[in-house]
Symmetry: C2
Subunit: 321 residues, 2 copies
Amino acid sequence: MRRSAPLLRPLALFCLLACSLFTGAGALKAQPAAAAPAATPSMPEVLAASTPSDWRQPDLENVLYLDMPGGRVVIELAPEFTPNHVANIKLLAREHYFDGLSFIRSQDNYVVQWGDPTEKKTIQTAKKSLLVEFTRPAEGLAFTRLPDGDIYAPEVGFSNGLPVARDAAKGLAWLTHCYGMVGVGRGNELDSGNGAEIYVVIGHSPRHLDRNVTLVGRVLQGMDLLSVLPRGKGNLGFYEDPAQYVPIHSIRVAADVPPAQRTLLEVLRTDTKTFETLVQSRRFRREAWFQEPVGHIELCNVPLPVRALPTPSVAAAPAVN
Amino acid sequence: MRRSAPLLRPLALFCLLACSLFTGAGALKAQPAAAAPAATPSMPEVLAASTPSDWRQPDLENVLYLDMPGGRVVIELAPEFTPNHVANIKLLAREHYFDGLSFIRSQDNYVVQWGDPTEKKTIQTAKKSLLVEFTRPAEGLAFTRLPDGDIYAPEVGFSNGLPVARDAAKGLAWLTHCYGMVGVGRGNELDSGNGAEIYVVIGHSPRHLDRNVTLVGRVLQGMDLLSVLPRGKGNLGFYEDPAQYVPIHSIRVAADVPPAQRTLLEVLRTDTKTFETLVQSRRFRREAWFQEPVGHIELCNVPLPVRALPTPSVAAAPAVN
């Protein structure tokens, strides 16, 4: 204990996983873990050994900057999954619909959500109604399978840096509600959401929402601003007192922001040998602190490293546990 | 969208799950969900139909009150899993060791942790060193199995209101790192923790810590105070500036607190038909908002309702999503 002996040593914390992925379906049943590979590098080692081609820079046309008290939240949108919602959210951003709105909800172990507390702001150019985009065809989608299995879906894995699920029998794929994922609030009707009201997952992944809400992307940076918003005392975590609303200064499409004001990030690609090594390193924790190497990993516990540019040396991952 | 159409309608949010539990092992593989039972009650319906015997009042000898700015955190200890650590933590509380200490760490999507920032406070009556208690014999442990499967353990389920895992082949059981679970920090050495430094899970369940740290119980009330502690900017989320420390006024064994100052809670038993019904209700969401009933549930997404006494009518569950 004590400061010198925390829950996890620094080295342990920044270690993810390495080597080669499981391919045995037996991992699904969480049977005793296979023996750890002889030499599993640590996460810092994996990242240090990565090459520039292991990383990608998100398309600034699909990145949002949410500026709020305390700093900036950077969101990467996923038009390959939910093109209509992504297009509409960009229209909303470009007509400055979001500027001056507020976080109106913070529900513990669940979501924070922003919107128009006055319910009076008019939408100019964007659509006021959109049909949900719960799934997309699996065909044509890059998919790096995570063979450890899943409780909620037949298959899970990663696509372009996002946690996804797939149902081969139905030929469908969808984004999953891991920590930091961003989705579009809706009412009971399937066309009642349009991207004007958006939530971010701040708790244990509510995977039961998969295919029930349209997810549009994930937070690349700034989760530490969202996850600490005081919890609302109202039903569903809504703030009862307008004095509790947390303002949104602006939401901008990154491509529209002057270069000097951009927050440039790189994301570790998930279709690379380096990522495969990273996952394995996280499955078999080699650090001295660990007694039980575990041998499995669950989808939402796989870190998806992000690093700032132009400082390419050290990775800063929002979920590096 | 809008306040009138949030992510989840109020009714949906307070619904958990109902009817009878799966018994088919096929659920492990997250195959297509079985058809939903004809009439799955909602969570409010399940709780409204519960009887007094479905609830238990925690033994005040095994309840801690952590008083901090903003209110009280109530923790139930689990001596049936980690008797030595529980006994030592109670000794520490009773010698007032914790009073005046601080939260010194808040790491996003992971844990908050308290301890002695000065590292100078002396321990009077409690042990300074304790061997880890990672597992206990499965024999003799009440165990309500969750048949949906698990990525990390051969079997998972519930024991006396706590999420647990079991390995029948090894004859072992252990507590699992779900949201709100409470554990004891340690260094690399297996006898380097003693309960003086404690963490609480505030993010997506870090199940890779199972059997690597000694868990001692769970937060019954007050997670909304812990989960919003500003994230530390230092390594592992430690606060770099002592001005950021969040003080702990006191930690008391509830039995030692005058009756008028107690926070009395009831916990839904997990060995009852009502709980079984609740889980099923959560597996098959019947509310109008849901399009995809899911059909499965993951251990750490199962709500463990807690309600205040003496107001027995409405349940307040920390994880009711």
